[in-house]
Structures are given as structure tokens and as C-alpha cells.
């Protein structure tokens, strides 16, 4: 026999109180999780600031200034679509920095929350749902990606690496590039029961080769045709190409720019939806 207490409880109050207690968490839960994650990030703030400022300075100087003298004097600026090597390589540096951060934030921290220091289970024992936890983590990483990319962009301006007026649009593109790979990685980390070096493997044989062969430091056309697929599947290539269009008006067909955006958005959404579902499954033991 089931409990017949529902109507009585409604009058008495406790049930009513519970229904009320669920309103705010259901509505704002994702933001509460994001708030907690950003608070956690604060303990790494110094490291984040150091890398956030150090990375653009070091890379822009080393490649955009140092290596560029060699490239520009040997090739002439014609080889890179009529711009200096600095202008050519800067959008790629911006996007790969976003990719690196997304890889970092969507791998170990997810495993941490589900396994090593299972705070996600604690959130779920409070009113938070699996979907809200994934949302909150995502929001907090977006905040970091936007901040990092903005800082990067400012340094690009300082180095004189952004000739066009639409260059600032590279910030959302860098964000999208990071999210495209990051969301997929988040889904994988949500599913992964134990890390036996998989993340390390993904980093070494996935992210680093992508960084090198996605038309980043040299155009994809330099590679033999049979290696072009690397670019086509790489979110980084799509992000970098789009960024070049925005930075210095790199010429490509409009439909291709459309493909870039679609591909990046698609990966992001698929990874995010998957991660939400997997999180619910994993939390519901």
C-alpha cells in the first residue's frame, strides 16, 4: 500500500516547504555550480594570471618576432597570404592557447569531481542535478577562456599583430575552438571510470599533433593532400582559419567560413549534451 499522506502533508507544510525549497536550485542551479567552480579557481589565480600573461608574451615574441625574422626574410611575406609571419601566426597562437586551457579544464578536474575528490556527488546530494553540474563547470571554463583570450588579444594588439577592425571577433572564435574539443573531452572524462594515462595519451598524441598540423605554424597546403584530413577534423584548424579571416581578411569562400562555425558549434553541442546525460547516469548509482 502506498503512503496516502500527500494531501495531508500539503496542508501541514513540510511538503510545501520542500516544493518551495526546490524552486531556486532548479532555476539557478547551474549558476550556483559555476560560482563554486570559480571560487575554487581562485586558489589557482596566481598561476592562472602568470600563464595568462606569460603565454602570449612568450609565444608572440618567440614565434611572431623571433622566428618571423627568419621566415619573412627567406620567404617574403607572400608565402603567408600577403601578411607578415607575426600576423599569420598570431590567430593560431590565440586559438591553440584556448585549446590548451580547455583541455586542461575539461580533463582532470572532471575526473577529480567524479572520483578523486567526489564533490560532484556532494553537489548532487544537495539539490543540484547532473545537468546543472555540467552546465556550471562549462560556464566557469567559458569565463576563464574569455578572460584568457581577451588578455591574449590585447597582447596581439600590442605586438601589432591584428591589422583588421574585426579582429576582436577572434575572442569568441577562440572560445568556440576551445569548447569544441573541450566539450567532447568533458563527455569522455564524465564517462571514464579510471584514468590509466588516457588523458596523457590524448594530450601527447591528440592535442599536440593537432596544434602542430592544423595550419597553425604553416598553412595546411604545405602538407601533402593525404594529410589534409587532419585539418578538416581538427577544431583548431577551423578556428584558426576563421580567425585569420577576421584578423586580416584572409580569403576563403564564404561557405567555408560557414562550415567552420557550424563544425565548431556542432562539436560543442554534441559534447555538452553527451556530458549532461553521462553525468546523470554516473551520479545515479
Amino acid at each position: 500500500m502506498t503512503s496516502t499522506s500527500l494531501p495531508e502533508m500539503l496542508e501541514d507544510g513540510p511538503t510545501q516547504k520542500a516544493l518551495k525549497g526546490g524552486v531556486k536550485p532548479r532555476r539557478y542551479g547551474s549558476w550556483y555550480v559555476a560560482e563554486a567552480r570559480l571560487r575554487t579557481m581562485r586558489s589557482y589565480l596566481q598561476t592562472m594570471l602568470a600563464t595568462g600573461i606569460g603565454t602570449p608574451v612568450i609565444y608572440l615574441y618567440a614565434l611572431g618576432v623571433g622566428l618571423a625574422t627568419l621566415v619573412d626574410s627567406n620567404m617574403g611575406s607572400g608565402a603567408n597570404g600577403g601578411v607578415t609571419y607575426l600576423v599569420f601566426v598570431a590567430p593560431a597562437l590565440l586559438c591553440s592557447a584556448a585549446l590548451t586551457i580547455a583541455t586542461e579544464e575539461f580533463s582532470y578536474p572532471i575526473m577529480l569531481g567524479f572520483k578523486w575528490n567526489p564533490t560532484f556527488f556532494a553537489m548532487n546530494a544537495a539539490p543540484m542535478t547532473g545537468g546543472q553540474i555540467i552546465n556550471g563547470v562549462t560556464i566557469s571554463v567559458i569565463v576563464r577562456l574569455v578572460a584568457q583570450s581577451t588578455v591574449y588579444f590585447v597582447f596581439m594588439l600590442v605586438f601589432g599583430a591584428v591589422p583588421g577592425p574585426w579582429g576582436w571577433l577572434m575572442i569568441p572564435v577562440a572560445l568556440l575552438t576551445g569548447m569544441a574539443l573541450g566539450a567532447m573531452l568533458m563527455a569522455y572524462a564524465t564517462h571514464l571510470k579510471e584514468d590509466k594515462g588516457q588523458f596523457n595519451y590524448i594530450m601527447r598524441f591528440g592535442v599536440i599533433p593537432l596544434t602542430l598540423f592544423s595550419g597553425t605554424f604553416f598553412p595546411l597546403s604545405v602538407l601533402p593532400d593525404w594529410l589534409h584530413w587532419i585539418g578538416w577534423i581538427s577544431p583548431l584548424w577551423h578556428g584558426v582559419e576563421l580567425s585569420r579571416v577576421l584578423s586580416y581578411g584572409y580569403e576563403e569562400p564564404v561557405w567555408l567560413s560557414f562550415v567552420h562555425v557550424t563544425y565548431l558549434v556542432l562539436l560543442t553541442v554534441v559534447g555538452w549534451v553527451l556530458a549532461r546525460r553521462l553525468a546523470v547516469t554516473r551520479l545515479n548509482r
Binding site: 525549497g21 526546490g22 556532494a122 548509482r285
Partner: protein, 318 residues
């Protein structure tokens, strides 16, 4: 021996009510059709060995694990549909600590309170009050990893209280703690009970169950073996006293045979013989009269351990 009796019919004022509650993982039945009611303000325990289905039951009540079949109502709501609503009224102390080790002690309370949608203006003073309650005021700024096991548990309990829960859910609250830390914890839980908080706890320690539970169910292999107040269960399933005799491991069984008829019931464990009798001293005298010479003898009150042994033929802690 599941015996549906008067208490198993509808209980309109119960805060938690389960009927034939079942949880299966593929072929494994973790919880096998259990029924129980918990009244508001009651302190209710699930006593059983590891793997009996206690934690699974707790997770189902806690609205974080969907049941396979049966009915479950928590604060008048179905956990399958009203998870966040139910969880907004619970304070959960899980078996394994899941404090955020990237946050400081006090921050752990504040951040957790936010998940309930509570404002910072409320959480600040509340966190200080709970730190006081948990005797952790001096540790407010400490790192979680620097706390002792007992302190971590107290912080977890403080965290569970941040939303003024109607129901406290405690899964093996004092496992791994040293005796002193356990007593501090029991004291804190007892205060909560005095304040009218409903306590639901699992344990495989009979002394803990006796200390904290008004009523409990003995659970084994996913089913309820018995239900009642600790003292009533002892009265029903055991004698008032128990005589423990040790003859040496290879002679216990022989001695037990000779003791037949001396007492109501004899249990032979690997290391000792338990003689169940309302008068332990008299039983010991009779054993001596029979010419038995135990190496050691001890007369004690019956405990829930004896109830469990009687019901399942096994010890609680194996």
C-alpha cells in the same frame, strides 16, 4: 522473517515511507522489497553487515538513486520526480567524505549552502554557528586535508546542517574513527535528535545503533530481518544475559555439546562459545558443575550483535 504487522499499514504522519522498495543492478538485487515507515523526529537505523543494502537504501531515500520498483515517499514526495525538492530538505553525511579539498574549512560550508539557493547574508553567520557546533571554530581557515578524520566527519555533519534539514541522513557516520572521536560525534548527533531533527542512519556497529536509534531494522542481503526498538529486539531475539566461554579453539565445539540443556540457546563461534541465559552467573555455575573448565568466562548483557547472530547465523563484523 518479514512479518507485516500493524506498523506496516499506512502511516499518514510518516516522513519517509517505503513499500516493497527494490533496487537491482543487472542481475544483482541490492535491496529486495523492503517496507518501512519513519516518523518525524524519530531516530531510525539500518543495522546490517557491509553489502546488506543499507547504503543503496539511503541513496534511494536521498533521491540520488532511482528505485527499480516499489513505492517510496519522502516528505510526501516521490524521489523520482521531486529529487531537488526532497534534497532541499535533507542533510546528507555520506560514507566517504566528499568535502571540497580545494576550499578552506569555512568556505566548504558557504559554498555548499549556495547549492540550496541560500543567500550569502544568511550563510556567513550560519557557517560560524555550525563551526561552533562542530567544535571547529579555530580551524575555520584550515585546509580540509589538514583535518583529522574525526574533524572531517564533524565538518561533513556541519555542512549537512547548512540548510536546516528536516531529515539527517548518516551513512556509517563513525566508521574509521577512534573511540574518542566517535563519542564526540555521538554527542553532537544526540543534540540534533533533541532538537527534533529526524535522523536516519546506517551502521554495522551495534553500540552505535543502541546509542542513537529509537527504532531500527536489521537488514541482511537486501531484506529486513527484524524491526523494533533496540531493547525490544534484544528482548525478543535474545536472552537478558550472555555467558561467553573460551575453551581454546579446538575444544569449543566439544564443550558446547556438553553444555546442551544448560541454557536456552548455545552458539559456537570460532573463538568462543556463547551461552544464552537470563542468568549468566547461574549458567556459569552449572557449567562448572558439569566439570567444564573454561580458560576465560565473561557474563555480559545481550546486545544487538546477539540479535543479528540469532537472525542470520553470522556475526555483524566479519
Amino acid at each position: 522473517m518479514p512479518a507485516p504487522d500493524a506498523s506496516h499499514s499506512s502511516a499518514p504522519d510518516s516522513v519517509i515511507s517505503a513499500r516493497n522498495l527494490t533496487k537491482k543492478y543487472k542481475d544483482f538485487v541490492a535491496v529486495d522489497g523492503i517496507s518501512f515507515d519513519i516518523a518525524p523526529g524519530e531516530s531510525f537505523g539500518f543495522l546490517g553487515p557491509n553489502g546488506a543494502g543499507k547504503s543503496t537504501t539511503m541513496r534511494m531515500i536521498g533521491a540520488v538513486s532511482a528505485r527499480t520498483s516499489g513505492d517510496l515517499s519522502v516528505i510526501g514526495l516521490d524521489p523520482d520526480q521531486y529529487g531537488p525538492e526532497i534534497r532541499s530538505q535533507l542533510g546528507v553525511v555520506p560514507q566517504e567524505d566528499n568535502l571540497d579539498s580545494e576550499l578552506r574549512v569555512r568556505e566548504n560550508l558557504i559554498v555548499y549552502g549556495r547549492y540550496f539557493g541560500l543567500p550569502h547574508s544568511y550563510l556567513g553567520p550560519k557557517a560560524d554557528e555550525l563551526l561552533e557546533f562542530a567544535q571547529l571554530t579555530e580551524k575555520a581557515k584550515a585546509r580540509v586535508d589538514d583535518l583529522s578524520g574525526g574533524m572531517k566527519r564533524r565538518l561533513t555533519i556541519a555542512r549537512a546542517l547548512i540548510n536546516n534539514p528536516r531529515i539527517m541522513m548518516l551513512d556509517e557516520p563513525t566508521t574509521w574513527l577512534d573511540p574518542q572521536a566517535r563519542h564526540i560525534l555521538w554527542d553532537r548527533l544526540f543534540r540534533l535528535k533533541e532538537q527534533g531533527t529526524t535522523l536516519v542512519l546506517t551502521t554495522h556497529y551495534m553500540d552505535e545503533a543502541e546509542q542513537l536509534c529509537d527504532r531500527l531494522v536489521v537488514i541482511d542481503k537486501g531484506t529486513i530481518m527484524a524491526e523494533g526498538a533496540p531493547s525490544a529486539l534484544i528482548k525478543q531475539y535474545s536472552t537478558r544475559e550472555v555467558l561467553e566461554l573460551r575453551f581454546g579453539s579446538d575444544r569449543n565445539a566439544d564443550a558446547a555439546l556438553k553444555l546442551e540443556g544448560v541454557a536456552d540457546r548455545i552458539e559456537v563461534l570460532p573463538d568462543r562459545v556463547l551461552v544464552y541465559s537470563d542468568n549468566g552467573d547461574a549458567a556459569l555455575q552449572r557449567a562448572h558443575d558439569l566439570g567444564l573448565k573454561p580458560i576465560t568466562s565473561l557474563v555480559r548483557r545481550s546486545s544487538l550483535e546477539d540479535v543479528f547472530l540469532r537472525l542470520t547465523g553470522r556475526s555483524l563484523i566479519e
